[in-house]
Symmetry: C2
């Protein structure tokens, strides 16, 4: 099924808004085996719609944007007109829009009426987070979809579209995946070349971001999918931290909560970002009470009695200092696990012996402290992000 | 000058990569008064290039992606062939590519030769961060630009293109701007409607993100630009924190450093993110030594002697508690300024009286503590981000 995605909106063409809708829709379609052929961004100008629609030869045409109530929002009437299908005003939707405006205590303009215009026999995609409903309709053997532009309004409709397509095309595709940490995309891809050959009936696609990768498995055969995922898991289990819905900090907090363990953190170069990541998780208060940022040597001494000897002999960025930071925090708090991070995030402060990107970690559990030393690539922001992920992964991998 | 941007690459059509190149190029072109008409994303397939090139009627055609050495990278030869211009192999570039491969100790494949193919009389855009140079050439009154896909390789070439266009089109456009905090886009736009009418010779465009807005001013008349910016500054000076290159945390750290002031922070709901923001700034060690995350009530008592009375009467999320947190941290450290944050980031934990999004702040300077109370919109992540920005802005606005 050849597919095109058309994003409507001046704000994308002026660089004010990044076209993340394309990314979200394409990713979901891919998972059910539908390739996106091309994508367009156009201005909300009637002639532009017609030119592009004349050019398009795809079977599935997805528009996002231009469904709102303003005079610039012309997607609904323009696209419906182009295909010349019969229309009607859906009274129930109209009533819903009126209620919405009453609810937010705003007078409803007449232009909002057009949001209740639909092709006959179309599928209405309800909008619970705004006034513009989406729609799926058919014409001349083509399937046309209209989505609103705001991503949070579009997402629930995208779910409906995927459901619709799966059913309509009799797609029996199964899609699942893993999230990995502690390995890189190129290392993985090299290692997987043989694996791919043995699982040709399963589409396996990597999606990489800073410090993490997800692998999405898709197949029409559930047992092939299961088999490939089991094999993948057995090869890479040390890197796999969860399913596609999981976050690394979520997995760590869950592990700690399940084992009734309290964690405390002392950070230097990451300056609070590890604590910030842990507390991203709603409910992290079950496992997290306190944390310290000891950015200066004085703070390291004041809060954790780091020995002057260690600081002068090995420096603040050393495994020795990371050891003392984690170990002394453990002694000074009632925590079950303590983690320390100290490093050089750059861009200045590096030396030949201790380059920018060098980060040392300490982790104490059951009165036993281990230390680690890594050199991370990238700019200041990336080095700090990688250090946070590395530390979270250390906690994830603790044997409890 | 009608402009189209064509992004080449399967990775954008599968949702693996977000098309940020479109955003960057469009924003820069806008600043010199060139509108982007349309944008396409296509697969790296020769037929696709030809179809799209037949369809395009713009005068400035910018391709990104498909310039690399692999067999899939066909932008250079395909686009050059389409326009039927004369070509040559640039020996100097070829030598440069060979040196690059020697340097990274990789054997150069013959396919890399094609990266030195250029139209006669074209402008070569050097690539210092990869092997694929870009190019600007003219054909049939059209200007065609080929950029590589990786953003960091593309950026320096985009600078060159902007220079070229400014000169070629005799554009004498001046572009500057402000970054604002503490106000919203819709409030600003409402307030600016009259202002716009008095400055029709200046293009003024807002770019909003969570908690911040930037306004970019562009004009062909430097004194008009200056006049509108001066007037804008006098209206909105309390919100303006810097120029386009500034970051809020950078401005705060600079202010503190210039006044030799040391800041310390105690955070609850933001869990370390404010300290994390301050330490985003390279050189923040001049103004920042230490910080605490007191997530539980116990930690608030342990580190800062928050009174049981306050906690039981007013709760941890209260101006009273924020007051004590900032005030007691001030007393316990040698800091010149202390900031406290305590709130309900959600999604759970809200009540009718204290809803999700309620955040209280304390700030102590010269032994004097002020408190603030705000309700922020959005999800957990947005509430925490807005709280960090609000706190940074409090520090920015302190009278020193």
């Amino acid at each position: 099924m050849k597919t095109v995605i058309v994003t409507v909106g001046k704000e994308v063409l002026t660089g004010k808004t990044i076209n993340t809708n394309l990314t979200s829709i394409a990713m979901r379609l891919n998972q059910i085996g539908i390739d996106v052929n091309r994508s367009f961004v156009i201005d909300d100008d009637k002639e532009e719609y017609y030119k592009i629609l004349d050019f398009i030869d795809e079977d599935l045409i997805i528009f996002t944007g231009g469904l709102g109530p303003t005079i610039d929002d012309i997607s609904r009437e323009t696209v419906i007109n182009y295909f010349g299908v019969e229309t009607y005003i859906n009274e129930e939707i109209l009533k819903g829009i009126k209620t919405y405006f009453d609810h937010i205590d705003v007078k409803m303009e007449n232009t909002n009426n057009k949001q209740a215009l639909f092709p006959k026999n179309s599928i209405i995609l309800e909008n619970k987070l705004g006034t513009a409903p989406g729609v799926i309709f058919k014409s001349k053997k083509k399937t046309i979809v209209l989505f609103p532009g705001p991503p949070h309004e579009m997402f629930p409709m995208l779910d409906k579209l995927i459901e619709y397509l799966t059913e309509k095309l009799n797609i029996k595709l199964f899609s699942k995946g893993f999230k990995l940490v502690g390995t890189g995309e190129s290392t993985m891809e090299q290692s997987l070349s043989g694996f791919y050959q043995f699982h040709t009936n399963v589409n396996i696609a990597p999606y990489a971001s800073v410090g993490e990768i997800k692998y999405i498995f898709t197949s029409d055969n559930q047992s092939d999918l299961k088999c490939s995922m089991n094999e993948f898991r057995s090869f890479y289990k040390e890197y796999i931290y969860g399913d596609l819905e999981d976050t690394l900090e979520g997995v760590v907090v869950k592990k700690l909560a399940e084992n009734n363990l309290i964690i405390s953190i002392v950070e230097s170069c990451t300056g609070g970002l590890l604590a910030g990541a842990i507390t991203n998780v709603s409910g992290s208060s079950k496992v997290f009470n306190e944390s310290i940022v000891t950015y200066s040597n004085e703070a390291k001494i004041k809060y954790l009695d780091i020995s002057l000897d260690t600081l002068s002999k090995h420096g603040a960025v050393s495994e020795e200092c990371a050891f003392e930071m984690a170990n002394n925090l453990y002694k000074k708090t009632d925590s079950d696990i303590t983690v320390s991070i100290t490093g050089i995030a750059g861009p200045t402060g590096g030396t030949e012996e201790k380059p920018v990107g060098l980060v040392c970690f300490g982790i104490t559990y059951k009165n036993d402290t281990s230390t680690y030393k890594k050199i991370f690539n990238g700019n200041r922001e990336m080095i700090r992000r990688r250090a946070v992920i590395y530390a979270l992964n250390l906690v994830r991998k603790i044997n409890i």
